[in-house]
């Protein structure tokens, strides 16, 4: 036994920090392949480029923590962008009014989900899938088929949500960071977070303990969709238009980020810091592969394969560390 202590150590290290090591390995690989990767501007690109996904993934983390899943995050994003752009363009609102309009627009999606899940007892998966279908259709009806609503003369303040900076830090990164901190405090450090986790892990026990699960669930759906709508505001400000049905492209990445994050947690819970790690990993891989100069088909395939492997590794690591958790 004693002779194998050192190999044991390596094994233990791998289990504990395996994902971190992979993160580092990819980081190193990209840096060596193309030195541009390491330049400040590029790393800033990664962070900026991940801001919207980060925000969506936060909303997803919340819903997954309640024990559900949200396939309609993209719809909430679209609604946020649509309401804001229309408020600016057709109603001439100022940036603040438009931002509020966007958030309210997004919350409609959450409210709708909540009605389906709580009122009609549809499972979150099917409920949010319906919301996805319905929300997509509504956008197409509203835009007469899905044409973008462009607003080139967007007020500077609104554009600054995406393009401005606060003491040199890009605003979107600031917004994402603030949301990360808020989410962390609420979900991991507050009593509401404890209740959310309890109901996500064992709903019936949470009910018996006197937790108002329905109320929490409604709030979570609304907060999550408003968060995604905030992502929509940034997306709209970024390109000065609302592109219908664009939110869908964040869905898979958001789910992946949340579950990578959950796998990194010692007890397999969806958690904010894990989600952050997941999002940054995805962002880094996408950027790194873009810089590697591969044919785009190869790049997409590699990205998919890296995603599968990273997830497998993260989960394996969690199992190895804590074999008792389900």
């Amino acid at each position: 036994m004693e002779t194998s202590t050192s190999t044991n150590m390596i094994w233990v290290l791998l289990q504990r920090f395996g994902f971190l090591l992979v993160f580092a390995a990819f980081f190193g690989l990209f840096a060596v392949w193309n030195p541009v990767f390491l330049q400040g501007g590029n790393l800033l690109n990664v962070i900026e480029g991940s801001a919207v996904l980060m925000i969506i993934a936060l909303g997803m983390t919340l819903i997954v923590a309640t024990g559900g899943i949200d396939l309609s995050v993209g719809i909430a994003l679209d609604f946020g962008a649509a309401f804001a752009v229309v408020a600016l363009k057709s109603y001439g609102m100022d940036w603040f009014g438009a931002a509020c309009a966007g958030l309210i627009g997004g919350s409609i999606v959450g409210l709708f989900n909540a009605i389906l899940v709580i009122g009609l007892r549809v499972s979150p998966f099917l409920a949010t899938l319906s919301t996805f279908f319905i929300g997509s259709s509504v956008q197409r009806i509203f835009t007469n088929g899905g044409g973008p609503i462009s607003h080139r003369r967007m007020p500077e303040e609104f554009r600054n949500l995406a393009l401005g900076d606060i003491y040199g830090v890009p605003t979107e990164a600031v917004i994402a960071t603030v949301l990360v901190v808020l989410y962390f405090l609420v979900l991991e450090r507050s009593i509401w977070g404890r209740r959310i986790h309890a109901m996500g892990m064992q709903r019936s026990a949470a009910i018996v303990a006197g937790i108002r699960v329905n109320r929490i669930l409604i709030l979570c759906f609304i907060v999550a969709s408003m968060t995604c709508a905030a992502g929509g505001l940034i997306a709209a400000a970024n390109i000065r238009m609302f592109t219908p049905l664009s939110g869908f492209s964040y869905l898979l990445d958001a789910i992946a980020a949340v579950f990578v994050g959950a796998a990194l947690h010692p007890r397999g819970r969806p958690n904010v810091l894990g989600t952050v790690a997941g999002v940054l990993f995805l962002g880094m891989v996408a950027n790194g592969l873009n810089l590697m100069g591969l044919n785009f088909n190869t790049k997409d395939a590699l990205q998919g394969i890296i995603l599968v492997s990273a997830l497998a590794l993260a989960v394996a690591q969690q199992r190895a560390r804590n074999p008792l958790v389900s």
Binding site: R189, R194, R195, M201, A205, I207, G210, G268, L324
Partner: protein, 508 residues
């Protein structure tokens, strides 16, 4: 009788990280006997069963079945040697038929796929001939009563007629009192066929009732083998199990505060029960008895707001009260220790501290953020008060034994200032020691002026701790009994409807 060894375990040791679950334990069971295995929670009973099942490899020791020493001990070799298990949990596929369930894993094949006809006929024949019940083999498991499911499990274990040893792990735990007899008589029939039976249970009355010999475990060791068992053996068994006399299982009642407590009037849920009225005074312990299906469980759920009430009003200490959800009940000071602690009592993946403070989160916060230090301290206080083992607030509750899990649920409600405590089958699967502790606790609560409702399927328990018992049958309260001078037998006959309550009260 001349016994022949059916199987024996000798010097079996099994260690888990940090625990020696079995410590040179031994166990000998003879052909044709019913052999009891008893011990406290955590004594190693389930572990020994799992060793015998080939689920765990023992670290040391020999397992001999029918004279042959097994090596390796795997589920397959054990099965081949003729050992069968009837597990405590009613693990059956809800949408399978009786025949499919009985033959699961040992199907009869015909030329083209499965021979469903043969399986159906064999199942019905077996249930009739061996277990003495008639049951259509095409019924779905989910439509069966608990006792019928138990019989299906037994049939499953024996259908191939190769069984030499059958292990029953707490077979009666999920059963109502009238159903127990069905299963017990089925077990007795088996001994007539030279099958050895190992019977694991916390119910000592059953043990003395059915077992020929008993082995007692304590902390992983065999501490006693009783070769003759009489109705009077119970006390000796308890002594062997816990290493001390439990003089009185049930606490002695002292003086109580009095005053109006919880009053329920005209409660109906529109399905399981109708127009139920009952009241509990402060300082009183009210028992609710009734068979499974009598509406007892549904009534408890409705009082606690888990089910919707159609009609009915509540009053607590004279004040009217609305209970439409469990949260409202908790806010009003009504708390429930649910019957299914693993599903409804605890958030199993959370730690002890997280579970203990789950209902009182807002008491240990600052600015909405949780103060973990306070939570820990409060949990530690409860660990000391209730003697929860292991005394570690950070242990994940999934890993606690049944009795300790129950104590964690209790601890959660202790930290609230609840006025009404509802216990739903509070001691299922809990060993005698822990049981008497829980009874003491229930009594302390009522002595402290709380209203207590105990709903239970165990007549002994009801008779022992309650002041008054209401009896439910088919969704109705059919009578009410004072426990003073009430015998358990009288209670049982009232619950099963064998005797009219009127006769009982008249006889007093």
């Amino acid at each position: 009788m001349s016994y022949q060894r059916a199987f024996s375990l000798q010097g079996v040791t099994k260690e888990f990280p940090g625990v020696r679950a079995l410590d040179k334990a031994s166990l000998d069971v003879e052909v044709g006997e019913v052999h009891g295995l008893v011990g406290e929670n955590g004594a190693g009973k389930s572990t020994v069963v799992k060793v015998l099942a080939g689920v765990y490899q023992p670290d040391a020791g020999l397992v001999t079945i029918g004279g042959e020493t097994l090596s390796p001990i795997t589920p397959d070799t054990v099965h081949a040697a003729g050992v069968r298990f009837v597990h405590q949990e009613l693990h059956l596929v809800p949408h399978f038929t009786v025949a499919e369930s009985v033959f699961l894993g040992q199907e009869r094949s015909g030329r083209l796929g499965l021979n469903t006809k043969a399986m159906r006929e064999e199942t019905e024949a077996f249930l009739h001939d061996m277990l003495g019940v008639d049951m259509p083999s095409s019924r779905l498991i989910r439509d069966l009563t608990t006792a019928e499911r138990k019989l299906v499990q037994i049939a499953r274990a024996l259908i191939d007629e190769a069984a030499k040893v059958v292990v029953f792990d707490e077979p009666t735990a999920p059963l109502a009192s009238d159903e127990i007899e069905t299963v017990m008589s089925a077990i007795r029939r088996l001994t007539e066929q030279d099958i050895a039976i190992l019977y694991v249970s916390h119910y000592l009355s059953e043990i003395t009732d059915i077992c020929d010999r008993v082995t007692v475990f304590r902390q992983g060791k065999t501490v006693g083998v009783f070769d003759t068992i009489t109705d009077q053996s119970g006390r000796d068994l308890v002594y062997a199990m816990v290493g001390r006399d439990i003089a009185d299982m049930f606490p002695v009642k002292g003086d109580r505060v009095a005053g109006p407590g919880l009053e329920v009037v005209g409660l109906s849920d529109g399905r399981a029960f109708a127009n139920i009225s009952l009241h509990v005074e402060k300082g009183e312990i009210l028992g609710i008895a009734g068979l499974i299906g009598s509406g007892r469980e549904e009534l408890i759920d409705t009082i606690y707001g888990l089910r919707k009430a159609q009609t009915g009003t509540f009053q607590l200490e004279g004040e009217p009260l609305a209970i439409k959800s469990a949260a409202q009940a908790v806010d009003a000071g009504i708390v429930l220790v649910p019957r299914d602690r693993r599903h409804d009592g605890l958030v199993l993946p959370m730690t002890m501290a997280e579970n203990v403070t789950l209902a009182t989160l807002d008491q240990n916060t600052s600015l909405g953020l949780e103060n973990r230090r306070v939570a820990r301290e409060r949990t530690e206080a409860q660990i000391t008060a209730l003697d929860i083992r292991p005394p570690d607030p950070d242990v994940v509750t999934r890993l606690l034994s049944g009795g300790n899990q129950q104590k964690v649920v209790l601890a959660r409600w202790m930290v609230t200032s609840a006025r009404v405590f509802i216990f739903d089958d509070p001691t299922v699967g809990v060993d005698v020691g822990a049981k008497s502790e829980i009874y003491q606790l229930i009594d302390d609560l009522s002595a402290g002026g709380a209203c207590v409702i105990v709903s239970s399927s165990d007549p002994v328990e009801l008779q022992g701790i309650c002041d008054r018992i209401v009896i439910m049958m088919r969704g109705d309260i059919i009578g009410e009994l004072q426990t003073e001078d009430l015998s358990v037998d009288e209670l049982v006959s009232a619950i099963t409807g064998a005797r009219d309550i009127k006769n009982l009260t008249d006889a007093d």
